[in-house]
């Protein structure tokens, strides 16, 4: 079987929906600029690219009409590159990477752009025209449960106190701010040109966060709940992209290999506790890689909610020094379709930066799913 590698990762800055600098940028334009940046930074010959696989959680409006193919044109890529939009909600762009890995091993192409985008300013969560199946909604309302409520369910089930959530959120903010101060995001960020000037800095971070400030916030989803806006990932605009190719292709064309994809997995769980999804997915992916959790050096766990992350950590005891080294989604933001590519690309580049062997990237997914990828240093 062919080895599959990640040979490049970049992203746009992530900015808060509606009030951030990217709110006025169309998501197709945003993704196109990030992909152009990826082509430029990796030096890959665009003529060799098989497909642009783009994750998006609400592919309608400006993200509709198979936006992946539209982005091929916007990014001025050869028309020979195909385009497909994949939707696995928050796991969409990690799924894009999985699709490419599978295709490469199938011999169905050598080089793929795996990207993701979400403008949560311009396309509302739930979409413009939510029309749930009324029979299912009556019989099994969990299928459509709101994300905040799932976090509250986990907080109850795992007895996660509000203070613990706030400590987790604060730590994420502190790690992200420190990384920003050290310029650790600069290499991965593609500055975005817009009518309103160049946007090159993450906008969601709250470096002024404090435990006292977090403790003052009202519950966001349940009247007497413990989850607040401060312990949830914010609505975010952003795009991310990774270059996925066969190891042989990377070697032949002198591409900079960040990491090898060791194993991949998806899993399902009860929708009302969707946040626990990473546990089953990680167990599967570790087993497929022939590894145990102890073998993993770097973990990128998507922080949809602090309560959700803490529930996962209860079942998957990951050492703090391995987890989300540059902060997570609570601080950086969570543009649904783009997050999978960000954390997988981030895990790959962290393996290289930290000189470690194995990395795990994993996410929970609305509707009750998990997705995970294990990467190996080269």
């Amino acid at each position: 079987m062919k080895n599959v590698v990640i040979a490049g990762f970049c992203r746009s800055p992530f900015t808060p929906a509606n009030k951030g600098m990217l709110a006025k940028v169309r998501p197709d334009d945003l993704a196109a600029q990030v992909i152009k940046g990826l082509i430029h930074d990796t030096g890959v010959n665009p003529e060799h690219i098989e497909d642009l696989i783009l994750g998006c959680a609400f592919p309608e409006g400006e993200q509709g009409l198979n936006v992946a193919r539209i982005i091929v044109h916007l990014a001025e890529l050869p028309i020979t590159i195909a385009g497909t939009t994949v939707n696995r909600f928050c796991g969409s762009s990690m799924q894009a990477i999985h699709n490419a890995a599978g295709a490469i091993q199938m011999g169905a192409g050598e080089v793929f752009i795996c990207a993701g985008v979400e403008s949560m300013s311009r396309i509302p969560m739930g979409g413009f025209n939510p029309l749930p199946n009324p029979v299912l909604y009556q019989a099994y309302p969990q299928a459509y449960i709101s994300m905040g409520e799932t976090a509250e369910n986990l907080a109850l089930k795992y007895l996660i106190k509000r203070e613990a959530q706030e400590q987790f959120a604060l730590l994420s903010q502190q790690k992200a701010f420190a990384a920003q101060q050290k310029g650790l995001f600069t290499p991965e960020i593609i500055p975005i040109q817009s009518k309103y000037g160049v946007i090159n800095i993450d906008g969601c971070l709250r470096p002024d966060s404090s435990l006292a400030g977090l403790a003052d916030l009202q519950p966001a989803f349940l009247k007497n709940g413990s989850v607040t806006a401060g312990t949830s990932s914010p609505l975010t605009d952003g795009a991310a992209a990774v270059l996925v190719c066969s190891e042989a292709y990377a070697d032949a064309h002198g591409l900079d290999k960040l990491a090898r994809i060791k194993s991949i997995a998806v899993s399902g769980c009860a929708p009302e506790i969707m946040g626990i999804g990473p546990v089953a997915a990680s167990q599967k992916v570790l087993e497929r890689a022939g590894l145990t959790l102890a073998d993993i050096d770097i973990v990128e766990l998507n922080e949809a909610f602090a309560a959700q992350s803490l529930a996962v950590l209860h079942d998957l005891p990951i050492a703090a020094e391995k987890l989300n080294l540059d902060g997570g989604a609570i601080a950086l933001g969570h543009p649904l379709g783009a997050t999978g590519a960000r954390i997988t690309g981030k895990a790959a580049s962290l393996l290289k930066r930290e000189g470690k062997r194995y990395a795990l990237a994993t996410q929970c997914i609305g509707g009750g799913q998990g997705i995970a990828t294990i990467l190996e240093a080269i």
């Binding site: 413009f128 025209n129 029309l131 749930p132 199946n133 009324p134 905040g148």
Partner: protein
């Protein structure tokens, strides 16, 4: 000359409020103030004033977009901008020297044809003009607005013999038509009309209440018997600010001759002095005559000061006695009656003695007190209500001087030859002057009998083939009689008229359906009656919509529930700018049942300026009906799609009927009844989507479980019920859903509870 651009100088509460109201009229306005010392931002004062306008309560702006018409600046850098301005309103501090210095600058900066006015409330025009050129004097007048300028309709205009007649005409017309003001010409005397009488009345009330040791709650309640707003004496003093009282009194003391009756009352009582020094200056201070105190359980209770001890006590709630007859009140001998007689007789005598000193005629004075102090009747109308003869007799007994005006003991107003007339000083009855183009329903009513009439509504012939349907039940609530008269009117107008206007003179167009009747049916569990009530309303409004003549609704004030629904069925609306319109049925545990859901849904679905798809229009209708959203103005009603873009807005309440009639006549030629709407609705899927949103609100503790039930019934209607998205529904299908949801809700105790709560609270 047209007024296309205005400048207001002085961005205090009044200046900013005036600027806001000019912007409400769609006219660009410059708002300038001084540059604060060591300012980084030289426009800071005016800019801060604009940002306060956006947050003011009640809102000074009719529409957030109006704020964009206001340009903030300062008088050091921006005077050159006055070259483009047609009218400059000075609203700065009441200091003649500072005003003079400003006028000197204005004279340099403005074009010679620019009109300049002062918003002074105290300084005589003669003093203001001192040292100015003849050209300035020709262009200068006083335009005195009342606070808050958006809501208080009075504009006092004071001119000098030098003032150009065209200037007065231009300003009066602009103020009348575009600002919606009632202009009253005043003589150049201290306090002009409204504040001269108003301050006298307040001072008289304050002193008499102290002398009689009357509880202030009682004193204020008594005033309502005279048609005076329920703030009465003490509530109004709190609103004005007690700290201003000594200043106002001092200025009258200086400006009025020693012989003026006001001088006898002109002193600040010791209690008020003490309250001022304690910081109890009224609503802007810690409290005033009244204050709201937070109890331990977090509830706020109203307290009132005891005029004897100066201590606060829990304010006794006094409901004004609706059956109180003025004559009875005045003939009793208890403290309340003494108070009523003393204060009002003193005030009315004073008013009568001021003609012709402050105004040419009694009509001006009555208008000023109605529009500037929100009195239901002016002083001379009150005299007629009390009976001039009886009044004079009693005054004579008290051996007080009878003013010349009252000496003949004749009524002050009379209808002669079908025309309302007033008595002048010479005892002659002259027609009450009406502004050009005005159509007054009261005039029509006094001139001829109604075409149709019952206890709740009447139909009037307002000329040129147009009929006017008037509601006149209490709060103009709609009952079987109202519906019956609408049906009769449709038959009548078909044969005898070309168009119908729905209008009334009351403060509020209609508070909605009469819920008392509904309550009775619910108590008797007589569901057939409920069913019939809904169907009758649906059929009546349907008949109105499809009648073969144009129907124009002309609302002002509240148009709620059933009152909103009838407007939604009209061909067009000519609205007063102050329109508070909405489908508020969920507040009493119901859904709109007289076609309101159907018509509003149709308006939302017809709005092409939002993204498409099945849900956005439904979601908007669901949100606005589900939260009982009421418009904050007619302009806002357009945004909410209660009004359409083609509907008109009239700024001056008095001109509403004339404008509505003109609108109706404009629709007569080639009139076609509207095409019935058809609906593509997603049915149960849309309902599920709405319920998901409602459920999240419930979980977050933002709505109650009965709100969820009402929302669910509403969602059933707006989603189209059991239909599929490829089905086409008719108007009748939606009406059937309304009926079903309504009946489902009235059978539940939650609805009964809400109805009872509303009726109890009034």
């Amino acid at each position: 000359m047209n007024i296309n651009k205005v400048a207001v100088i002085g961005a205090g509460v009044m200046g900013a409020g005036i600027a806001a109201h000019i912007a409400n009229a769609g006219v660009p306005v410059l708002l300038l103030d001084i540059v604060p010392k060591d300012a980084v931002n030289r426009n800071q004062i005016a800019e801060t004033a604009v940002s306060h306008l956006l947050k003011s309560e009640p809102p000074a702006l009719m529409h957030a977009k109006a704020a964009k018409l206001i340009t903030a600046g300062n008088i050091e850098d921006h005077l050159p901008l006055l070259k483009d301005v047609d009218w400059v309103i000075e609203a700065i501090i009441e200091n003649p020297d500072i005003k003079h210095a400003l006028y000197a600058k204005l004279e340099q900066a403005c074009r010679t044809e620019t009109i300049i006015s002062s918003n002074t409330s105290t300084l005589p025009l003669a003093l203001l003009c001192q040292g100015r050129s003849d050209t300035f004097k020709q262009q200068f007048l006083i335009t005195h607005f009342f606070n808050p300028p958006r809501y208080m309709r009075l504009l006092e205009i004071v001119t000098s013999p030098a003032t150009n007649k065209d200037v007065v005409k231009t300003i009066s017309q602009f103020a009348d038509i575009q600002l919606g003001k009632g202009c009253v010409l005043c003589h150049d005397t201290p306090g002009f009309i409204a504040n001269r009488i108003g301050t006298f009345w307040l001072q008289s009330g304050l002193l008499q209440a102290i002398a009689l040791q009357l509880p202030i709650t009682q004193a204020d309640a008594i005033m309502t018997a005279f048609g005076i707003p329920k703030t009465g004496i003490f509530g109004l003093l709190d609103l004005i600010g007690l700290d201003l009282v000594p200043h106002i009194l001092k200025s009258f003391k200086q400006l009025l001759p020693a012989s003026d009756a006001f001088q006898a009352l002109n002193h600040t009582p010791e209690l008020v002095q003490r309250m001022i020094s304690d910081g109890n200056t009224g609503r802007k201070g810690k409290g005033g005559f009244y204050r709201l105190q937070k109890r331990d359980d977090g509830k706020r209770i109203k307290e009132a000061i005891d005029l004897g001890t100066g201590e606060y006590q829990v304010a006794e709630k006094i409901k004004p006695d609706k059956n109180l007859i003025l004559a009875a009140l005045l003939s009793n001998n208890d403290a309340a009656s003494q108070f009523a007689w003393q204060v009002m007789s003193e005030t009315l005598l004073y008013s009568a003695s001021l003609i012709p000193e402050i105004a040419d005629d009694i009509v001006s004075v009555d208008n000023a007190m109605r529009l500037g102090y929100n009195w239901k009747y002016g002083p001379f109308e009150l005299l007629d209500l009390m009976g001039v003869d009886l009044f004079v007799k009693r005054v004579e007994q008290e051996q007080k001087t009878i003013p010349a005006l009252l000496a003949p003991r004749q009524p002050l107003y009379q209808t002669l030859a079908n025309k309302p007339c007033y008595r002048d000083l010479g005892g002659q009855y002259l027609p009450v002057p009406r502004a050009e183009g005005l159509l007054v329903l009261a005039d029509i009513k006094s001139a001829r009998p109604p075409v149709l009439s019952n206890a709740s509504a009447s139909l009037w012939d307002i000329g040129d083939g147009v009929a006017c349907l008037e509601f006149h039940s209490k709060m103009n609530t709609l009952d079987n009689d109202s519906l019956e008269l609408i049906r009769q009117s449709i038959s009548k107008v078909k044969t005898g008229f070309v168009a119908l206007v729905i209008y009334n003179d009351a403060e509020n167009f209609s508070a909605g359906a009469n819920l008392t009747l509904l309550m009775q049916a619910i108590h008797q569990q007589n569901w057939a009656v409920v069913d019939q009530l809904i169907q009758q309303g649906q059929q009546t409004y349907h008949a109105l919509k499809y009648s073969p003549f144009p129907v124009v609704g002309a609302p002002s004030g509240l148009a709620l529930g059933g009152g909103c629904e009838i407007l939604l069925h009209c061909d067009a609306i000519q609205a007063h700018a102050e329109l508070y319109m909405g489908l508020v049925e969920v507040g009493v545990g119901l859904v709109p049942g007289w076609g309101g859901c159907k018509e509003y849904l149709s308006r939302q679905l017809g709005n092409t300026s939002r993204p498409g798809g099945a849900m956005p229009a439904l979601a908007q209708a669901f949100e606005n009906i589900g939260t009982a959203k009421v418009s904050k103005s007619a302009a806002n009603a357009k945004e909410l799609l209660y009004l359409s873009n083609a509907d008109g807005i009239t700024m001056n309440r008095d001109r509403l009927l004339a404008d509505a009639k003109a609108k109706a006549l404009s629709l007569v030629k080639n009139y076609q009844t509207p095409e019935p709407a058809s609906f593509h609705l997603p049915g149960a899927s849309a309902k599920a989507a709405m319920l998901m949103a409602v459920n999240n609100l419930f979980l977050a503790g933002k709505i109650s479980d009965y709100d969820v039930e009402i929302s669910s019934q509403l969602a059933q209607v707006l989603s189209g019920g059991a239909c599929d998205i490829i089905d086409i529904l008719t108007e009748q299908d939606i009406l059937n859903l309304e009926l079903q949801a309504f009946v489902n809700l009235v059978k539940q105790s939650g609805t009964l509870l809400r109805l009872e709560r509303l009726l109890k609270a009034g």
